[in-house]
Structures are given as structure tokens and as C-alpha cells.
Amino acid sequence: MTQFDFGRLLHFWETRGPDIVGLVVEHISVVAVSLLIAMIIGVGVGMLVWDRPLPRSTVIAAAGVALTIPSLAMLALLIPTFGLGWTPTIIALVMYSLLPIVRNTVVGLREVAPAVMESATGMGMNKFTVLFRVQLPIAWPIILTGVRVAAQLTIGVAAIAAYVAGPGLGTFIFRGLSSLGSVNALNFALTGTLGVVLLALIVDALFVAITRYSTSKGLRA
């Protein structure tokens, strides 16, 4: 077992600097792309099912099931069809993101006060206008909270994606774990883990700012 040496860790960061930055960029990219796809699908599906009880429960149940599959198993199941690399990683991340996004979209759209809905209709808006001009803006902070939860989830899961040769900081973690006993094993694992944790914290703070900036002043508490 190699002893932890802070000096050596600093030296590791110095020599591997460009590699680390590259992996962080990959990690952010794969999470961002997955969230964007999941948001388009999730908000879209939420808008389609929010006022229909049966499709609504079905969609939320299905998204819930996806979340219960262990990430390693999910990735392994995707290999035969999608091979290795970015594709299975993004598919897995999208599947994990759907539940919080769909559920928060549905909750947000349904929680608009009945009086607001009635006055919108009474003023001559059709269903489509009510959805886009009234419901969606009012539900927006709730939907963004769902995306924020999905972001936390996918930053963690993306680290596992190195198992299918996916991009991101997981590469370091897995390399460290597979070379235990070697000089830099601990440095690899530690750097990958710390990077994931830091990334999660920074992205969370970013979402707080985005939510604040993009929500109407009239809705802020």
C-alpha cells in the first residue's frame, strides 16, 4: 500500500494538468449534452401528459423504474446495442435525468392556481396559449429545480461511465482503482473523485444563479 504524500499529489497535478482539464471539460460536456436532451424530452413529455391522469402516471412510473436500475448494470446493458464511449453514456444519463425533470414539469404545470387558469381561459386564451404564456413561466422555477437535481445525479453517474470507456473524470477513478499499489494509484483516484465533487458543487451554485436570473420577479419568494 502506497502512503499518501501531499507533495506527490501536487506534483501529479502539475504534470497531469492538461489531462485533468481535458477530462473536466469532457465531464461537463457529457453532462450538459445529456441534460439538454433530457430537458427537451422531459419538459415535452410533461407538457403532453400533465392533464391526462393515465399517461401521466404511466410516464412517471416508467421514469422511476429507469432510476432504480444500478448505473453499472444500465451501462453494461447498453453496450451490446450502442457499443462503447459517448453514446451509451449519454443514453444512460438521459434516462436517469428524466424522472426529476418530467415529474417537476408535471407538478409545476398542475400547481398553477385554478383561479389563474380560469381567468386565463376567461380572457380568451386557448389551451396552447395558456400553456406557454401562463403555465410554463409559472412552473419554470419548479422545472429548473428538477433539472438541478438531474444535474447532481448525472455528474455522479457520469463518473461510472468510464466503465464503458465513456468520457470524463471517471477515467482517472477507474485507472486508480485498477492499478492499486502503483505509485500514482491513489493520486488518480483522488483527483477523479475530488474533481467530481467540486464540479457538482460548482454546477449547483450555477443552477441557483440561473434559476434566480430566469425566474420572474413576481414569483420569487
Partner: protein, 352 residues
């Protein structure tokens, strides 16, 4: 010549100072309910008239009102505005020309006050300048300073202020017809009275045809040109002016709805000058006087308060024009009721 629905709506919309609304044999029944919510309801509101639907909760008054802008679709019967069949028009387009105010107001929380008022003008494709001018005009009309309130959000306003915005928003496109569902029901008594007084003043200048739903008979008496007293299934028990309903309730149901103190309620509708004033010399004098614009109820209030036999009545310039006493107030009511003590038929005289 047959008119297309679109031009029919435009013709309704152009008539901004009140349209004639006719409901004929309108029925609403729900599949899972054995009794109709509204049954064979017929009424006609003249242009510029303020009609009150008053009745207990669950009597179908709100359902009846909501069929006019088709928030609820009638099962059978016909509804027309200015002679044009409402049920053949596009419901969304129709609603843009019918003002709609509900008790919970339903302002859009994510929009500023100005944006809330601009919703219908935007749907109608008004220019920015025209909309902005209209917002200023309307906020001034409902006594909210545009510079102070236009860019605030609903949550930054008090309940009474929000309800004013609700009325301004409903008036945005200058609709000929307004539907109001207990608009002042959720405000405290003092605010309510103030809103009612402002609303009456507003209606004097606007002259919209208004259907106003309330369960508060006093509010109906205060605001309405005519009152429809409704019972279950939205059956009309009596449809008449407040004075006539108070003077001669059609049946026991209407009488019970008026409740106690019908005579006092009638006094609120009658100005002091309706009474035969006595000579100013009859007044017991004193600092308390009655103005010619006051109602007989105000006069009675002052009489009870002071305990005097008669009070001086002053005109606008503060000149005494006569005196008012309890007897003279009673005489006004007596003169209007055919069954007043002097000419009572025997059966009615036995009533407590």
C-alpha cells in the same frame, strides 16, 4: 344576409357601451347528476343594465353566468348578445370581448400589473402605443397611479388593489359585456364598500351591460339596476328592481332572502329629497344636520343617534331647505307599499 361568426364578434365588440344579452330556455345538466344545475333559464338584460344574480351557494347562479362566455357550455337553450347567437361563435375570440372578473381575481403572478392588463389587447393584436395608453388610462380609472403601480407584481399589492387591477384587466379591450363572479366577496367590509362605491361610479360613465353574481343581498340592493333572486336549479323567484323587490317580495323564498330589516334596506335606496320635508322651523336644531344627497337611511341614522324629533335638511350650499322626522320617513315607505297599515287586507294584517 347571413354573417360569418368573425364579423358577428366584431359587431358585438364595436358596441362598447353595453349590449343586450338574452338567455332563452338555457339548461345545463351533467351526466352524473340526476337534477339539472340550471333549468330553463330565461332572462333579458338591456344595454347598460347592471343585473344581479343573487341566491344561496349551489343555486346555479355562477353556472348560469359562466354559460354566457362559454366557460361552461349549455346543454340546451340559446344565448345571444346583441341578437347574435353566442354558441355559434369561436369561444376564445368571444371571450376577448367579454370582461371577466372572479372572486379569487386570478392575476398572473409572473407578469407586472401593466402586463396583466395588456393580455387581452395583445391577444387582439393592438399596437404597443395603443396598449400602453390604455394601461395608463385604466389604472387611473381604478384609482391606481400608473407610475407607481404599472411595474409592480401582483404579490406586491393589497387584496383591494389586486381586485382593482382585476377590474381594469377585464375592461382592457373596452368590452360591451362584463361578467363578475362575487368580485368583492373576498375583501374586508371596509374595502368592499369602497370598491362597491368606486364600481358604481365607474359603471355610471361606462354603461356596460353587467351580469354580477353575489350571495349578498345587500350588495345586490346597493349595486343592481335589477335583481334576479334565484333558488335551486337557477329558478328565477323574482326579477325586478331592488325597490320593487324590497317593497313587494314575490313569495316567502324572496322574503326570507331579503331577511330582516327590509324597510331599512329600502331606505338606503331613497334620497332624503323623496320625502315630503317639513318646514325648517320644525327641526329641533342642533349641530347634526342631513344633506339633501343623503339617503333616508342616513337621515334615520342621525335621528336615532341624536334622539331628536326632527333634523334640518341642507342643500348643496348649506342652506336649510326643510326638516325630516321619523313620521316623514315612514310616510315615504307607506306611500310606496300598497299594503301599508292604512289599507291592509285582513289576512296580511295578521302577519307578525
Amino acid at each position: 344576409m347571413p354573417k360569418t361568426p368573425a364579423t358577428a364578434i366584431l359587431q358585438i365588440a364595436r358596441n362598447t357601451s353595453g349590449a343586450r344579452i338574452v338567455l332563452d330556455q338555457v339548461t345545463k345538466s351533467y351526466a352524473n347528476q340526476p337534477v339539472a344545475a340550471v333549468e330553463n333559464f330565461s332572462i333579458a338584460a338591456e344595454p347598460g343594465e347592471l343585473i344581479m344574480f343573487v341566491g344561496p351557494s349551489g343555486c346555479g347562479k355562477t353556472t348560469t353566468m359562466k354559460m354566457i362566455n362559454r366557460i361552461i357550455e349549455p346543454t340546451s337553450g340559446s344565448i345571444s348578445i346583441d341578437g347574435r347567437d353566442v354558441l355559434s361563435l369561436d369561444p376564445h375570440e368571444l371571450r376577448r370581448h367579454i370582461g371577466y372578473v372572479i372572486q379569487q381575481i386570478g392575476l398572473f403572478p409572473h407578469m407586472t400589473i401593466a402586463e396583466n392588463i395588456a393580455v387581452v389587447p395583445k391577444l387582439l393584436g393592438w399596437t404597443k402605443e395603443k396598449t400602453a395608453d390604455r394601461i395608463d388610462e385604466l389604472l387611473t380609472t381604478v384609482e391606481l397611479d400608473p407610475r407607481e403601480f404599472a411595474h409592480r407584481y401582483p404579490k406586491q399589492l393589497s387584496g383591494g388593489q389586486q381586485q382593482r387591477v382585476g377590474v381594469a384587466r377585464a375592461l382592457a379591450a373596452d368590452p360591451p359585456v362584463m361578467l363578475m363572479d362575487e368580485p368583492f366577496g373576498a375583501t374586508d367590509p371596509i374595502t368592499r364598500e369602497k370598491l362597491q362605491a368606486e364600481f358604481l361610479r365607474l359603471q355610471e360613465t361606462l354603461g356596460k351591460t353587467i351580469i354580477f353574481v353575489t350571495h349578498d343581498f345587500d350588495e345586490a340592493v346597493r349595486l343592481g339596476d335589477r335583481i334576479a333572486v334565484l333558488s335551486g336549479r337557477s329558478q328565477i323567484e323574482q326579477f325586478d328592481t331592488p325597490a320593487n323587490i324590497l317593497a313587494a317580495p314575490a313569495n316567502d323564498y324572496v322574503a326570507s332572502f331579503i331577511g330582516h330589516g327590509a324597510a331599512i334596506k329600502r331606505l338606503t335606496l331613497i334620497p332624503v329629497t323623496e320625502a315630503r320635508l317639513g318646514p325648517a322651523s320644525e327641526s329641533s336644531g342642533g349641530p347634526v344636520t342631513v344633506r339633501a344627497t343623503d339617503s333616508l337611511r342616513d337621515a334615520l341614522d342621525s335621528l336615532v343617534l341624536t334622539g331628536l324629533g326632527a333634523l334640518t335638511v341642507l342643500d348643496f350650499d348649506g342652506v336649510a331647505i326643510g326638516s325630516i322626522s321619523m313620521e316623514r320617513i315612514s310616510a315615504v315607505l307607506g306611500a310606496q307599499v300598497p299594503s301599508a297599515p292604512t289599507g291592509l287586507p285582513p289576512a296580511a294584517a295578521d302577519r307578525p
